[in-house]
Symmetry: C2
Amino acid sequence: MSLLRYDVTTNDWVIFAPERGRRPHEFPAGPGGAADPAPANCPFCPGNEALASPEVYALRRDGSAPDTPGWSVRVVPNKYPALSPADPPTRSTDGALFQALGGHGAHEVVIESPDHDRFLGDQPVGQVEDVLVVLRDRFNALMQDPRVQMVIPFKNHGERAGTSLRHPHWQLIAMPVVPRQLRIEHTVATDYYDRTGDCLYCVLLEEELSAGKRVLALNDQYAAVLPFASRVPFEVWVLPRTHRSSFATVSPEHLRPLAELLKEVLSRLYARLGNPDFNLTVNTAPRGDEGKAYFLWHIEILPRLTTPAGFEMGSGMAINPVLPEEAVGLLRSPGGRG
Amino acid sequence: MSLLRYDVTTNDWVIFAPERGRRPHEFPAGPGGAADPAPANCPFCPGNEALASPEVYALRRDGSAPDTPGWSVRVVPNKYPALSPADPPTRSTDGALFQALGGHGAHEVVIESPDHDRFLGDQPVGQVEDVLVVLRDRFNALMQDPRVQMVIPFKNHGERAGTSLRHPHWQLIAMPVVPRQLRIEHTVATDYYDRTGDCLYCVLLEEELSAGKRVLALNDQYAAVLPFASRVPFEVWVLPRTHRSSFATVSPEHLRPLAELLKEVLSRLYARLGNPDFNLTVNTAPRGDEGKAYFLWHIEILPRLTTPAGFEMGSGMAINPVLPEEAVGLLRSPGGRG
């Protein structure tokens, strides 16, 4: 059973998911995450379908049966979910300041391919496109639950990025509330729209493209930029070049150019930085704002090359030792270790 | 030269401190921080004073000369500062959306004791008190610069908490702006005060004490509580039991009971969790609000037992696998590995 608790000092919720952790008495055993099984025991490898939860969706071009090999992308519920469709979104209070909410939502895993150890940037572009197609489909399927306010797709690569299983995968968490940080981004962008009539992110992208100092790669539909105020070294955003507020409504024909640009960006990070650990998240407008003019959906890639310490934990503010103008020079260069 | 850049999508600043990082072309060499020297080469050990920056302050009960042994607590400027008094707080803009600010401020290191490897919880309570006395003095000294808006004291313990030097120390960063997350906390608490006439944190502490489920330790002046909406397992807050908005104005006679409670909390974390990595921050009201009724200064201790992943990076929301009611049971228990 998961639950959320409201932090009255920040006006944000915290998710409590006891199934995801070691029990309290196990913490003294020291740091370290879940085991990282070899392919023979990997729950995401073909032939081991029974080791994962029964699939909720799979791309199967050969007509193979569910929960058997033959899939190219496979979706299963997370075995240790942060939120669950079975938990009712019941609200409760204990005194004026202690408010809780049942952990209603969903937590799914999108297995990128049958390959246990192939980096997404090394996959054929068609496979990257298939992953994006499935992510968009599952995003929309999870939004069918009217109690879900927002779906957050993300990917963790490497131990420093919080990965517990090596076999490449994405995750989707369907939320019963909108996180405060995202509410702030929506409010800031709405205020800008109300003042100027423009989408803040579209204008920001135009300014980045015309400055030209921090642009990593481009195609007709998408741009990859290292943001002016990057929070971490080598942070990269991938943004659509025509306005669209939600990942839910990306046209199917735009997923191919997105796959092409994402593959190029990930390959460059891999080659130039020696396969860095990173997190990738999809930032999109909340329920009901899929057609709005104020927000531009986009992908944020955050390499985990530095460790946030007490200052960052206490202030929320980032200290970044590398200017994006310098970082982009390295990523653009033809050399590398890959 | 440090600088800050404004993120127009979040309305927060990011600090860029090129002196603190490896150069971009060095990142492919893989993760890892600064070297962790043995006592013979440790810049914080007595006899090696010349390896650190010249001291700005030291507790010397034997009348010894600056930058020589004889000190019990020593303060030096950080050799790789995030912000510096030499950088002017000059504002500049490049287009409508790219705003920057010179990295004016300060970044000091408070060396806890001459001991290279003695945990703060194992120090005599008088030494802990001395550290707090020096922190308060330096906090107030840094606030003498009228361009400093806020001083953030913090401590990193262990590699996962971002420590690069093992010799126990604290840091103070003096800021030319107030971080957005802290502004939000101040605004939330001000709204509560305007609505109720009470300090939100004082009421929260009263509710925690009367619920009694998450209280770790108490004395006449301070309380240690695992917050209802803890963001990480075993998060502990130490709060004053009588209202005071700023660390700057804590009475000297209240630093001894604070040292006693802090020592007890740190010793319990060390013993029950096997010397966990953690960050500790001092959360206090900003310049001008030192006498205000809306905020209660406090210490937040955040053990680094879990790794924030893509969901947390993308949403700002925490997933915590351990309820504080369960965590406090372990910390209160008489056993342990210490």
